[in-house]
């Protein structure tokens, strides 16, 4: 990039760092004698889980809807984000009268382990050294994230959930929930995801990680100790990733070959094209709210995700005996997690005669469709959740059940 991050972009830096130890969220601290056992063999202790809730838990605790966030999401689903000041990432989906209706459901979302918004991650203080973990943080998996969420539910006295929903990496967590805690999940909605991370997706993640690690400010992961920040590397990682979240059509419609604030090309490497300017903006605004090491750890967790491999190489085995009601959603324009990957999960669920719905929605916006205003997605989620609530006998205001 010829345009480097400017001082102006640093304004929120302290705001972000404050969220690591003192998040503007509910937080549960699990003490050293209650460790989280990880897939890698290590134990994380003590550890913390930061979370947000919306709506009211009913007396029977039967109206819990667990939302799982994606790679660069966090627990701020439907409130103003404490760092960016913008609405939460699923503000269109979650709220009073919205498809995940907080007048009816108690919605809970926690920051994943490895994250940087209050749950323990590589930027948290390592009790053994008194400094940030950095690369001493153990490598975590999607299952570890889910185990941590299960510990949070245990702590809150919630035995099971009416539904668990999420898109992308959130969808991976949903699948892991359904496979690992069959009795705790009444219904599951994995959106725009896959049962394993594809080779192509691992490749994109590797590009992102290499960009971070190539930044001298990364300091072998010890940038927090050094008072530095690999902003350029992380911004490039985000720029590359952002392309994968959109479709060719969406980029073309939005930007075409339009030039940015100029009449003709400059025969240089400034952001001549609007799409360049847009990507640079995406990269810069991302580094204001995200930690570079968290990005390494969480992308790694996604790469390691392979639900079939964890169950003897047969995906159907992951769901054997399931009573969970599933609703899978994919998007026609999503080339990062294409429909075939969802269909593979549907076939595995059919093989165990599971109760499964599956819709492929026609969208233009690529992988990011699950975050955007897509009326058919709203109808699907609203209808499926209402039916699950009806089946489970979760009472609601008159007239809301189908």
């Amino acid at each position: 990039m010829s345009e480097t991050p400017t001082a102006q972009a640093f304004t929120d830096h302290s705001l972000r760092l404050a969220q690591i130890a003192n998040p503007q969220s509910e937080i549960v601290h699990f003490p050293a004698h209650e460790p989280l056992k990880l897939d890698c063999g290590a134990e994380l202790a003590p550890f913390s889980i930061a979370y947000q809730t919306y709506g009211v838990l009913n007396a029977a605790k039967s109206n819990v809807v667990l939302v799982c966030h994606a790679l660069t999401g966090d627990q701020h689903v439907a409130n103003i984000h404490p760092v960016t000041g913008k609405p939460g990432w699923w503000d269109t989906m979650v709220g009073p009268g919205k498809p995940i209706d907080t007048n009816r459901y108690f919605v809970l979302c926690s920051n994943v382990i490895g994250g940087c918004m209050g749950s323990t991650g590589p930027s948290s203080i390592n009790p053994a050294t008194g400094r940030a973990y950095g690369l001493d943080f153990p490598v975590i998996t999607v299952r570890d994230m889910v185990r941590a969420q299960a510990r949070l539910l245990d702590h809150l006295g919630i035995a099971d959930v009416l539904s668990v929903l999420g898109g992308s990496m959130g969808g991976m967590q949903v699948l892991e929930w359904a496979a690992t805690y069959k009795d705790r999940v009444f219904s599951a909605v994995p959106i725009a995801c896959a049962a394993r991370h594809s080779s192509q997706n691992i490749a994109f993640h590797e590009v992102g990680r290499q960009a971070v690690m190539a930044d001298p400010e990364w300091c072998q992961g010890r940038y927090l100790d050094e008072g530095r920040s690999p902003r350029k590397g992380l911004a490039v990682a985000r720029m590359a990733a952002h392309i994968t979240y959109m479709s060719d059509d969406a980029l073309h419609t939005k930007f075409g070959r339009n030039l940015q604030d100029r009449e003709k090309v400059t025969f240089g490497f400034d952001a001549d094209f609007q799409v360049e300017s847009y990507l640079r903006h995406q990269g810069l605004s991302f580094v204001d709210r995200f930690d570079a090491n968290s990005y390494l750890y969480i992308t790694r967790a996604m790469d390691y995700f392979d639900l079939a491999a964890d169950h003897g190489g047969v995906l159907a085995h992951a769901f054997a005996g399931t009573k969970t009601r599933f609703c899978l959603v994919s998007f026609t324009s999503d080339w990062l997690f294409p429909t075939d990957e969802s269909r593979e999960i549907v076939h595995a669920l059919n093989a165990v005669a599971a109760d499964v719905s599956f819709v492929e929605l026609k969208t233009e916006s690529g992988h990011d469709s699950f975050l955007l205003h897509e009326p058919e997605l709203f109808d699907t989620i609203r209808g499926f959740l209402s039916a699950a609530a009806l089946k489970r006998g979760v009472a609601g205001p008159e007239g809301w059940l189908p």
Binding site: V352, A353, V359, K362, E376, D379, G383
Partner: protein
């Protein structure tokens, strides 16, 4: 599956489709049912209401699937020709193919799959042996169009039309046992049981079969 029936027969919540009522009559209460080509879910809703079934559906058209799922029905987007192989043997009490078999690429394969995944199969289809169809071809010299088969030859999804006799032949070929067979006339009434096969094949506008292995 996108089998185009006359619009008045497809209205949501409509239970005037006699073939659907007949199918519902054949299904035992509380059964596990797979409706292949479930459209907008009319039959699944009817079965849930009248028979308290545990229902699942497969539907090819996205609009149909979306409508079903938004109503809380368990329906997947899929294709009768390719997606039945993923279900285990005897996963359902009934596998239902309502007004769809004539639109599949491989009716024989689909029927075999129905009888593999369901203890029983229920199949309904428009009878191409009906006298109006025969007369249309005989006297008009053109591919027939009827209330049940309204499209022109080049835009119809119905690529494997058959008569009641043809269907019985297929059942015999694959060793399917016909437990019940009902022909319906144009006004939706059942033709008399005593009526000989040739007459049912001539006057039945559609047929509903209950099959087992």
């Amino acid at each position: 599956m996108n089998v185009n029936l006359p619009p008045h027969l497809l209205r949501a919540g409509e239970t005037s489709r006699v073939d659907l009522l007949l199918i519902a009559e054949m299904v035992k209460p509380g059964a596990r049912v797979l409706d292949i080509g479930c459209g907008d879910g009319t039959l699944l809703r009817l079965l849930a209401e009248k028979r308290d079934v545990e229902g699942r559906g497969i539907e090819l058209s996205q609009a149909g699937v979306n409508s079903c799922v938004a109503q809380g029905l368990s329906v997947i987007q899929g294709d009768a020709d390719t997606d039945l192989v993923h279900y285990p043997d005897l996963a359902f009490d009934y596998a239902i193919l309502s007004q769809t078999i004539q639109a599949t690429y491989s009716p024989r394969h689909v029927l075999e799959q129905l009888l593999r995944i369901g203890k029983r199969a229920i199949v309904s289809f428009p009878n191409f042996g009906h006298w109006r169809v025969r007369a249309g071809l005989m006297f008009g010299g053109k591919m027939p169009k009827t209330d049940n088969l309204p499209e022109r030859w080049y835009d119809t999804p119905n690529i494997h039309l058959c008569t009641i006799k043809d269907f019985l032949g297929l059942c015999e070929d694959i060793g399917a046992k016909v437990e019940r067979a009902v022909a319906l006339n144009a006004s939706g009434s059942k033709l008399g049981l005593s009526m000989p096969l040739f007459a049912q094949n001539l006057f039945g506008e559609q047929a509903v079969f209950l099959l087992s292995r």
